[in-house]
């Protein structure tokens, strides 16, 4: 059962990924991306990471993709659909580079051995719930990275404001 679910999610994720990067219409790509995020959330659920699945949907599908759609509507692109979605030069070079990278990765994947196991066994995570397990780790051991993540978000807020602000041209 778990295997079947895994294959379903994995195949859909890969298929959608391929369709997203080749799709002519960016709006369609974004909507397919939405579907892909749901299947990613499904994979997280298979990994017993229900908090991550929820965050994935809330942040990626609920905020980031909406932002993408918003910008796509702002920069209304009608001619895009008639032209090739790819760059004229170096299209094949990109494909070759991606394939070479894939081969390198796959070699790594099959020569990979796991390191020593930690203390968060599946049973333990299920018992104290994933949210709590995450919270315990984030707010104790990883409090400094957490603060830094907050800082990065603050920088993004300020940066977004600075970019979006229209310059007063003498008025």
């Amino acid at each position: 059962m778990v295997q079947l679910l895994f294959f379903y999610f994995a195949l859909v994720v890969i298929g959608l990924g391929l369709r997203i990067v080749t799709c002519k219409n960016p709006v369609h790509s974004v909507l397919l991306m939405l579907l892909l995020f749901f299947h990613m959330a499904g994979l997280y659920l298979l990994l017993n990471a229900e908090f991550l699945a929820a965050v994935q949907v809330i942040v990626y599908a609920g905020a980031i993709l909406v932002l993408y759609l918003f910008v796509l509507f702002l920069v209304n692109l009608r001619e895009e659909i008639k032209m090739s979605p790819f760059v004229q030069k170096g299209k094949w070079a990109g494909l070759v580079a991606a394939l070479a990278l894939l081969i390198t990765f796959l070699r790594g994947v099959f020569n990979f051995t796991l390191g020593p196991h930690g203390q968060y066994t599946i049973e333990k995570v299920q018992q104290i719930t994933h949210t709590k397990a995450m919270g315990e780790a984030i707010y104790t051991t990883y409090i400094l990275p957490f603060e830094i993540a907050g800082l990065i978000l603050l920088v993004a807020v300020i940066g977004g404001l600075a970019l979006a602000k229209k310059e007063d041209k003498g008025a």
Partner: protein
């Protein structure tokens, strides 16, 4: 039983799809979307590792990556909007001002 290597394979493939999209798409918004794909594949990788190593660290890292991805999307799209305002285009080949 689902093996760790299966997850890693999926994640590797997704990452390469992202790389391909990033290198070949004309539209800057689509390039940003490809970056999201790559980040997602990395997230999957980390979450899977974390699950199989019975350690929560990887998943904490995923949490941070999602936060950073949100920041990246906000800034990236802000830049795209500014570009569009100045050049009326979001295609890479139109934005060649550094070439003179």
């Amino acid at each position: 039983m689902v093996h760790l290597s299966w997850y890693l394979t999926v994640s590797a493939m997704l990452f390469c799809i992202g790389v391909f999209g990033f290198l070949t798409r004309r539209n800057i918004i689509m390039m940003l979307l490809s970056i999201e794909l790559m980040l997602n594949s990395v997230n999957l990788n980390l979450a899977a590792m974390s699950h199989y190593m019975e350690d929560i660290r990887g998943q904490v890292l995923v949490f941070f990556i999602i936060a950073v991805a949100a920041a990246e999307a906000a800034i990236g799209l802000g830049i795209v909007v500014t570009l569009f305002r100045n050049y009326r285009s979001v295609y890479t080949e139109d934005i060649t001002i550094l070439k003179g």
